[in-house]
Amino acid sequence: MTAIDLGMPQLGGLDLVPTADDVQKAKDYTSDQEVRWCPGCGDYAVLAAVRSFLPTLSIRRENTVFVSGIGCSSRFPYYLDTYGMHSIHGRAPAIATGLAISRPDLSVFVVTGDGDALSIGGNHLIHALRRNVNVTILLFNNRIYGLTKGQYSPTSEVGKVTKSTPMGSLDHPFNPVSLALGAEATFVGRAMDSDRKGLTAVLEAAARHRGASLVEIYQDCPIFNDGSFDVLRRPDDSESRVIPVVAGQPITFGNEGRWAVVRRGFGLRVAPTAEVAPEDVVVHDPADLELSFALSRLSDQELDHAVFGVLRQVDRPTYDDATRAQVQQAVDGGGDDLIGLLHGRDTWTVRDGAVLPHTTTGDSAR
C-alpha cells in the first residue's frame, strides 16, 4: 500500500500499546452483559466481527478502550470486556481525543452512528479527523434514528418517509466517506456489516493505522429501516453495484470482473470492462486523494454503486504524538521549578514589619 512519509517516525497505530502475553480469543473480549439489540440488528454481526478481530491485534485487552456516544450502536462498549465509556450524544470523538492524547499506550476506538457522528456530533468528527488523532472510528450507518424510534438521519435518502417526515424528508444526505476525505482524514474505509471478511480486513488496517481512521459500516436496522442495503446484499442486484477496492489493483468488479472503473473528466465512471482498454482501468491508490474522493462519489444515495475497502490511507503526523512531543520537549528543556514559577521575576519581602527592597531575578524560562 502506498503511503506518503511526511517526516514522522514510521509508527503503526498500535506500536506504543503493550502486547499481550498469551493468545487471546473472542471469548476473552466478551463481557458478562446481556446484549440488548433488536433481533436481526446488524450490530450483532459487527460485534461478532470485532470480538474475533480484536485478539488478532495481539495487544493487551486492558489497554483497549471503546468510547461511544448515544444511539443503538453506542451500547457497543458494554458488550466488550475492555475498558470503555458510553458517553453522551455526539461527543465520543472529543472524549477519545483527550484520552488518546494523555495515554499513548492505549488503543482507542470510537463507536458511533450516522446520527451520533454526522448530526449532533458532526463538529467533533471532522476535527478529530483533521487533527489526525490516533483513534479508530467505527461509524455504523443504518441511515435512520433507531433508538429514538425511527426518524430520518443525515444519511437518509431524500424523500424518506418517517415519523418526523410524513411527507418525505427534504434534506440532502451526507456521504460519510466524502465528508471524511474533505475533513482531511488520513484513513477512510467502508465495509458491510454482513461481510465478515471484508469488515475484518478494513478494521484491522484501521486499527493498525497511526492517526484517525474512519470506517463506515453499512448496517441494517430491521425495525425502522429494514432492507436498506438489500440491493448491496442480493447477489443479482449487488453484482453491478458493489465495488471492492484493493491498493495497487485495477478496479474491476462483478461476475468475472465484467465492470471496470474508468476516468471521466475529473471524476470516475463505471463501464463494461470489455468496452474499455485495459490501461484505462483505474488502479487503486489510497494515497491519491483525488482518486479516493472520486471513488467516494460513485456511492450515491440510490446505492447504484458502493465502494468498499480502504479508500484512503496516508501517513501524516498525528496530533497526539505531536502534542506529547511538545510537552516532552518542554519537560526536557527544564527551567524553573514550581516555587520559581510562582515567584516570577519581581518579588518583595515584608519582614518584622518592614518592607525589604524588591528583587528581580534574571530572565527565567518564561
Binding site: D81, V350, V355
Partner: protein, 628 residues
Amino acid sequence: MNSAVDVVTDEVRKRHRVVIRFAGDSGDGMQLTGDRFTAEAAAFGNDLSTLPNYPAEIRAPHGTLAGVSSFQLHFADYDILTPGDRPDVLVAMNPAALKANAADLPAGGVLIVDTDEFTPRNLAKVGYATDPLEDGSLAPYTVHRVAMTTLTTSALAPLGIGKKEAERSKNMFALGLLSWMYSRPTEGTERWLREKFARRPEIAEANVVAFRTGHAYGETTEAFAVRTEVSPAVLPDGTYRQVTGNTALAYGIVAAGQRFGLPVFLGSYPITPASDILHELSRLKRFEVTTFQAEDEIAGIGAAIGAAYGGALGVTTTSGPGLSLKSEALGLAVMIELPLLVVDVQRGGPSTGLPTKTEQSDLLQAVFGRNGESPVPVVAPSSPADAFDAAVDAVRIAVTYRTPVLLLSDGAIANGSEPWRLPDAGELVATPVAFQSEPNGPDGQFLPYARDTETLARPWTVPGTPGMEHRVGGLEKADGTGNISYDGDNHERMVRLRQAKVDGISVPDLEVDDPTGDAQVLVLGWGSTFGPIGAAVRRLRAAGHAVARAHVRHLNPLPANTEAVLRSYRRVVVPEMNLGQLAFLLQGRFALPVVSVTKVAGLPFGAAELEDRLQPHLTDDERIEVPA
C-alpha cells in the same frame, strides 16, 4: 535621566493612597500602561488593587465613546481592598476618554489631558459642542494640559521611525509623566520595554525614549513640581509578588497537578475573560501540562473527561456561555464520578451579554444548571491572589471525592491584580493520588462503584490496569457493579448517594469577623465582592456601626455552620453582582429571611456605594425586625 529618580530638591508630598485612572482609545495601550504602572507599584512594595475596564470590540471606531478603554489602579501604604471608587487622577488621552470618565473624577481631582487630541473633529465625534478645555467646564479640577502626542513625536524624531509608530508611544510618555509624579521606580519599565520589543529594537528604543521624555517633562515643568510619594505597605510577613486572578488560577492548577502527582490536561475553547488561563497554561508545558484548544466548548470538557478517565487531572476553562454548552458533559462527569475541574470566569449575561464586564450571575447555573439531580461542588475565589488557593482547594475536592468541581471566578478577579503572599515549599507538599489497581469486591471482583465509607468516593481505576476492565457511562449505574440499571430502587439509592457524597464534602467552617462581638447585622458575601464588602464594612465601623461580616468560599456544599451563623444575627445582608442568587439559595436552604443588595452594572461595587447601600439595613430598626 537615570539620576532623576534620586533628585531630592523637589517638593514631595506624602499620601497614604492614590487612585489613578488611565483612559484612552482602545488602541491607545491603556491596559498596558496600567499594567506597567501596577508593576512599578508592586516593585515599590505598595499594596494595590486594579480594575481594567475595556470594550468588547478590539478596536472600536477611533475616538468614539464606545472605544474608550480604561485601567484604574489603587495603590497604598496600607492594606487596601478595592481598586478604588473614584480616581484622584484621571489621564484622558482624548475627548472621548474625558467624556466617559469625567463624571467619576471628584472636585479637586487631577486631570491630565493630551491636548493634541482635542481637535474640533474629535470633540464633535463625542458631542462636545464646545471645547471643555476652554469652556470652563473643567474648573472644579486641577487640569494639566499636555501636548503628549507632539511632545512624543518630536522627541522621537531623531530616531527616524514613522509618524504612526511614534504616535503609538504616547502612552509611554503618559506613563513616564505619572511615574515622575508618583515617585515610581523606572528601571523595571525600561527593562520590560526592551524585552518586550527585543525583536524590534527600534520600537523598544522609541518607547523608552517616550517614557523618559514623559518623566523629564514632569521633572522640568513647574506645574508638576510637587511629587507625591506613597510609602510601601507593611503587609503581613512574607514574600510577595503582583498577580492577576487568571494567572494565579493557572498557577493553582499547575500546583494542584504537582501536589496530587497528576499530569494536567486542559481542554479549552477561547472565550473572554477566561482565555488568559489557556494562554498561561499553554506556556507551562514543562510542568507536564498539556493544553488542547478544542473545536468548541463541549469538546473542551469532553477531552478533559477523556483525559481524566485516563488518569490525568482534567481541566476545562470557560465563561458563562461556555458553561451552558458544557452542562450535559458536566452531568456525564457527575454520573461517571471522575475528578474534573471546571473553571467559569463569570461575565455579564444572559447570552453573550457583556463579555468584558464582571458579574456573579452564574451561581445558580453552577449549583443547579444540569438535568436531573446533579450535585456539583462549587468553590469561589474572593480575590485575584486567592484564585491560587481556591484552585488548589477545588482540585483537592475533585480528586478526593471523584467529582467534577466548579470554580467560579469572575471578570474582576480574572483581570484585576493585587499583591500575593507566596506560599513556601512547605505549603506545597505532594500527596500523590493512589489509583485503584486491585479488586475490591468479593471473589476478586472489581466493583467500580463500590464507595469509600468515609468520602463515598468510588475507586479511580485507569485503563491499562489488568483485570479491572470496566465500563462507565451516562446511563444509571447499578450500585457497586456500575452496570446499566433501570431499576427504580437502585436509581433512588444512587441519586441519594451522589447527593450525600457532595453534601459530605469536608469544607472549613464559615469565619465571622465581628470585632465588637455585639453586631446585630451580618454582611455575607461570596467571590469578588470580598474587597468591596470589606472596604464598606470598614467605613461603617469607622462611623461607629457594629457590623459583622463573613465570606463564603464553598457555595456547595455550604460550610456546616452556615445556618447557625446566619441565625445568630438579627439580619443578614447579602451583596452580590446579580439579582440575589446567593440570597435565594440561602433562603431556600434555611428558610430564613435574607436582605439582598444587588448590582449588575458591569463593574464591582464601589466601597462608598456599598456603604450607602448597607447603611439603611443597619439603622432602620423597623426593618431589622425578623418576622416570627
